[in-house]
């Protein structure tokens, strides 16, 4: 069972479109795996809509919109939604289906370092970087601290750290207060979003550390 969920605050921001793109993708992917958060977001969207769309003091003159109405309805075409062909990923000798929000983004190819492999999501999002991270069976990430924050969404497999064991769908938010050394017995695939600027600020050692570099 999923034990780690986005905070209420994060869900509210997500429902308002106020989160950066990479974090929105992470929350959307979590929602695909977690029904209770999905329902929460539906309810939030409903109350956002009610807050904005239910008062009557109206407002501006309609004439400023007159041309717009003609312009929009002049064309009878309809838009078809973007196709959602499920996208699969082969990793560690199995094939898994990626959450739609992740699968629809461009991915770089995997870069391997020991038991770790990382593919970057090609989404321009300021100082945030999103990646798919594989850890092969028996692999671990050496003890580290988060100078900024690190979000991990476990997509497949398992891993555990000092705080316990995680299952697919777990949404794990860590920041500077946390130290951990995650390890996996049977291998796992994660989606991660890391805030890089703070990482860099914290000294060159991180940069020179190839694992730190790979994770970021």
């Amino acid at each position: 069972m999923i034990k780690h969920h986005p905070t209420e605050q994060l869900l509210i921001q997500f429902s308002q479109g106020a989160l950066p793109a990479t974090l929105s993708i992470a929350v959307a992917a979590h929602l695909e795996l977690c029904e209770c958060c999905r329902i929460k977001v539906q309810n939030l969207e409903q109350s956002n809509a009610e807050a904005l769309f239910t008062d009557f003091e109206d407002d501006m003159a309609q004439d400023e919109f007159a041309n717009l109405f003609e312009q929009i309805t002049a064309n009878d075409d309809i838009d078809m939604p973007k196709g959602n062909a499920p996208q699969t990923l082969n990793y560690q000798n199995k094939t898994i289906e990626l959450p739609r929000a992740i699968a629809n983004s461009q991915l770089s190819s995997f870069v391997q370092l020991g038991k770790l492999a990382r593919a970057r999501l090609q989404v321009d999002d300021g100082e945030l970087r999103a990646s798919l991270l594989q850890i092969a069976a028996g692999g671990e990430i050496p003890h580290h601290t988060h100078t900024g924050f690190e979000l991990t969404l476990l997509l497949d497999g398992e891993f555990s750290d000092e705080s316990g064991a995680y299952v697919p769908g777990d949404f794990i938010w860590l920041d500077g207060r946390h130290h951990h050394s995650p390890a996996t017995e049977s291998g796992c695939l994660c989606f991660t979003v890391v805030n890089s600027a703070l990482h860099f600020n914290k000294g060159l050692s991180k940069l020179l550390n190839p694992i730190g570099n790979l994770i970021y």
Partner: protein, 207 residues
């Protein structure tokens, strides 16, 4: 193509507190369904009139800029007009759906301002069409039989009688001939004509 009439039965709006004091939620939902089913401009005018000023007010707050707010009105209402067929009343009220369309347009606009890139990433994050709606075999069958019934109802009455007798009441052609007091040969020829027509109709729409 999918029959919108079935999907857009607005009698049951989930999550709609039937509170008459509230916004005209049901009326807006009905209007959105009419746009979806019939490209009904009058219904769209109703939505337009209701939402345009509200979206603009939101846009001014969001972007602090009148021109960008107007762009948001245009983006959102164009999508409402062109994507109404993706709306499902059983997934929530029209106000919620329009809100999500506006939220997505605003998200893309803010990203465009920051990264100067024209992309529509919001569609990946908040898809307007959910997976389960695409691949539900029961739903498809249901639609198809509804569609076939629609076609049958367009046949001349004499042919309808025969088709319904044979396929829905499962009478033999002889029984049916007796029941309708016509020769068996006539039953056969009416059935042949009816099936030809149905095949043509259904075949055509599948192109």
């Amino acid at each position: 193509m999918v029959d919108h009439a079935l999907r857009c039965d607005s009698r049951a709006v989930a999550g709609n507190k039937t509170n008459m004091e509230q916004a005209p939620t049901q009326a807006l939902t009905d209007a959105l369904c009419k746009v979806a089913q019939h490209r009904d401009k009058r219904a769209f005018a109703q939505l337009f009139e209701y939402f345009a000023p509200k979206i603009k007010r939101f846009g001014v707050k969001q972007f602090g800029n009148e021109a960008l707010a107007m762009e948001l009105v245009q983006e959102t209402l164009t999508s409402v007009w062109r994507k109404a067929h993706l709306y499902h009343p059983d997934r929530g009220a029209a106000t919620t759906w329009v809100y999500t369309v506006m939220r997505n347009a605003s998200f893309d606009a803010l990203r465009k301002m920051k990264s100067n890139k024209e992309e529509h990433i919001s569609e990946d994050i908040w898809p307007l069409l959910q997976e389960e709606q695409m691949a539900d075999p029961d739903f498809q069958d249901h639609l198809q039989s509804k569609q076939i019934q629609d076609y049958i109802s367009k046949l001349p009455l004499a042919q309808q009688e025969v088709v319904k007798g044979v396929y829905f009441q499962e009478m033999s052609q002889e029984q049916l001939a007796e029941h309708l007091s016509i020769p068996v040969g006539t039953v056969k020829s009416r059935l042949r004509l009816a099936l030809q027509k149905l095949r043509a109709e259904i075949g055509d729409s599948n192109d």
